[in-house]
């Protein structure tokens, strides 16, 4: 598996200019025919898993739509970072973890929170920083930690949690505990020094750290061509002496299989892995951003690769669910989500005194 490449969707190079290049860079060279390959069943999920993975993807999508509604109503609070395009990655990565493993998610990994059993109510309380939220109003969005669910959220400073995840594993080793850590970074964030130092430390310490690079073509308004010049971000694995692979981030089967193998290897003492998932951020950086800097063709190209739609085809084909069942389930999730969100958004903010607590622990 050493630095093998399962699927390569994107080819980039050292161009530093212009939109036409960016289109090319973001679109497969076979784009002219633009036949979206059907998702094929992978090696490690069974149909029961598929039902669950698909359901988590539906939850993620409906969550996004519900947040969008909230945003449009002017009732959102804090950044609304769309998950659209990343559902397969967020869900299938976390789905490959075992219960004792630990997750350090980023801002487009809400699907991973669901997989680890986080309740929407707790999530929303925290996202909207309402009274009773996990972070007591000190911080919001997905920045919380929930040690029981083995979730440790990110801070805003990109890349900062990668060394933290590595250190978490050093402690697990000292304690003799079986634990794999999974964390995420973007096409943009992987240019920060923390990424380098942490990858290298994990490799030299042989830690079971799985780093997912969510290559969704843009870092805020910055296209990959202005962020890096390597062909694949997983090419960096070679320079750390760890496993590296690039997979289609809109295909949960491919994402899962790559994670499954990397985790098995890591758990067995084979060291860290760098898994690049290639997809597209289908909305602005956050909802205030109309992402007009993304060429229409790019959106269209990736629109045809919507992860939920693509996986739905496989679910139907394998008769895991019928179209009616899916429609009903979507509706059910949607109404439950909207109900929770509508409830939480009406709750008061935490009491002011929370701001004066816990600067230091006893």
């Amino acid at each position: 598996m050493h630095n093998s490449v399962q699927t390569t969707i994107m080819s980039s190079s050292q161009q530093t200019t212009a939109t036409s290049q960016d289109i090319e860079n973001s679109i497969d060279s076979r784009a002219e025919t633009d036949i979206v390959p059907p998702i094929e069943a992978g090696a490690h999920l069974d149909d029961d898993d598929r039902r669950r993975v698909f359901d988590f993807m539906l939850q993620t999508r409906e969550f996004d739509l519900a947040m969008l509604r909230l945003y449009r109503q002017g009732r959102a609070f804090g950044g609304v970072y769309s998950q659209m395009g990343n559902e397969a990655t967020a869900v299938a990565t976390a789905y490959a973890l075992q219960e004792q493993d630990v997750l350090f998610p980023m801002h487009r990994d809400i699907g991973a929170h669901f997989v680890r059993g986080q309740s929407l109510h707790a999530l929303m309380l925290n996202h909207l920083a309402r009274k009773g939220s996990m972070m007591r109003g000190t911080d919001g969005t997905g920045h919380y930690a929930d040690p029981d669910k083995r979730i440790y959220g990110n801070i805003s400073h990109l890349g900062a949690m990668i060394p933290v995840a590595a250190g978490f594993l050093m402690a697990s080793r000292l304690k003799g505990e079986d634990c794999v850590a999974m964390t995420y970074i973007g096409d943009g964030g992987s240019q920060i020094g923390d990424f380098h130092e942490a990858m290298n430390l994990a490799a030299v310490q042989n830690l079971p750290l799985i780093v997912i690079i969510e290559n969704n073509q843009y870092a805020y308004s910055t296209p990959n061509s202005e962020s890096f010049a390597c062909e694949r971000l997983s090419d960096r694995a070679l320079g750390y002496g760890c496993h590296g692979v690039t997979v289609d981030g809109t295909n949960p089967e491919a994402v899962y299989d790559a994670c499954f193998e990397a985790i098995r290897n890591a758990r067995g003492g084979g060291g860290p892995a760098l898994i690049e998932t290639v997809s597209m951020r289908m909305r602005g950086h956050a909802e205030h951003d109309d992402f007009s800097y993304v060429p229409r063709e790019v959106i269209e190209y990736w629109g045809r690769r919507d992860p939920v739609d693509r996986y739905e085809k496989l679910v139907l084909e394998r008769k895991i669910m019928t179209a009616d069942e899916i429609a009903a389930r979507r509706k059910e999730i949607s109404s439950q989500m909207n109900a929770v969100i509508d409830e939480v958004v009406e709750l008061p903010f935490p009491d002011a005194e929370e701001g004066f607590k816990n600067i230091f622990m006893d």
């Binding site: 530093t16 200019t17 609070f77 804090g78 920083a129 309402r130 972070m135 007591r136 109003g137 000190t138 911080d139 919001g140 920045h143 801070i155 805003s156 400073h157 990109l158 943009g188 964030g189 240019q191 920060i192 020094g193 923390d194 870092a219 805020y220 308004s221 910055t222 202005e226 962020s227 890096f228 800097y293 008061p348 903010f349 935490p350 009491d351 002011a352 005194e353 929370e354 701001g355 004066f356 600067i359």
Partner: protein, 325 residues
């Protein structure tokens, strides 16, 4: 005179300097095309081209380091931190490379690192920090904190023309809050000159940045309610520090309140108070008071944020105590 917001004034200064001096160029995350997170450089890439308005990877160390290198090679780079909070990622470059180069090499490093700082807008712990005191305690770095639109323009100009590394903390809460007369064309406010925002005889408020507005509200209130005559000095730059102006004010009024939005302990108010306690001792009719944020990260929820940041009420109360002393 045209009116501009604080944000437009900074943009105007950058644009004016880029037209005036070919050696000025801009680098940062999303500064080209998008124009930066707050759109301060919106339209710049169209006017000045991709070579002078450069989108960088997310690499604060490399961005600041590259600016130092460009400055060594004769340019006047302006670096945008998307939020000033992220300067911690490039801290070493500022504290150890930029700050020591003039001293060690005698070569100027004219560069400006600027970006949005400050709280009160729901930015949470990682988009609200006021970290000017770290840099004020790093010899070799100049520190600028404009509070008005005109100052924002004039200080940006001066910072660009300065032959030293300058860090400018723009208060994001002021970006669109104020619209004021701002001189057209080239306009410079020299670094190291405080501004008397409000003249008075009963007590001095020494402050900068967003707290200038808080202090002004408190002063107006006290003027109306109790006829108090408060002087407000906006120091505008922490380094260089206009000690004379500050001492003169406190020697006149005999009462000093030092205020900033940054957290209290180790904040620059301590430095100012210490200088007053040394050099104004005989003129003081009351203890020197400080108003600052509670010593915590800046929390996200508005209820908490309001509680930990210094407010008009807290300033008013502190001033009242000073006056009654």
């Amino acid at each position: 005179m045209p009116t501009m917001t604080y944000l437009e004034a900074i943009s105007d200064a950058l644009r004016t300097e880029m037209h005036r001096d070919e050696s000025v160029f801009i680098l940062g995350e999303d500064v080209a095309g998008f124009g930066g997170a707050f759109r301060i450089t919106k339209g710049f890439v169209e006017d000045f081209g991709k070579r002078r308005v450069i989108n960088t990877p997310i690499s604060e160390t490399a961005i600041i380091g590259a600016a130092i290198g460009a400055a060594l090679n004769g340019m006047r780079p302006v670096v945008e931190m998307q939020f000033m909070d992220f300067v911690t990622n490039g801290f070493n470059q500022l504290a150890n490379v930029a700050a020591t180069t003039a001293y060690r090499w005698g070569i100027p490093v004219p560069m400006l690192v600027r970006g949005p700082a400050g709280g009160g807008v729901g930015g949470g712990p990682f988009h609200s920090r006021n970290s000017e005191a770290w840099f004020a305690h790093t010899p070799g770095i100049k520190v600028v904190c404009p509070s008005s639109a005109a100052d924002a323009k004039g200080l940006t100009t001066a910072a660009i023309r300065d032959n030293n590394p300058v860090v400018m903390f723009e208060h994001k809460g002021l970006y669109r809050k104020i619209r004021e007369d701002v001189p057209e064309g080239e306009y410079m406010v020299p670094l190291g000159e405080a501004r008397t925002v409000r003249s008075g005889n009963d007590a001095s408020v020494i402050t900068y940045g967003s707290m200038v507005f808080t202090a002004r509200e408190a002063a107006e209130k006290l003027a109306q309610e109790e006829g108090a005559d408060i002087e407000i000095i906006d120091i505008r730059t922490l380094v260089p520090f206009d000690e004379e102006a500050v001492l003169a004010s406190v020697r006149k009024t005999g009462r000093a309140l030092v205020a900033h939005e940054a957290t209290l302990t180790g904040g620059f108010a301590g430095e100012i108070a210490a200088r007053l306690a040394d050099k104004c001792f005989e003129f003081l009719d009351a203890p020197i008071r400080r108003v600052a944020a509670f010593d915590s990260p800046t929390p996200f929820a508005p209820t908490l944020e309001r509680a930990v940041l210094p407010s008009v009420d807290v300033v008013t109360k502190a001033l009242r105590e000073l006056l009654e002393y």
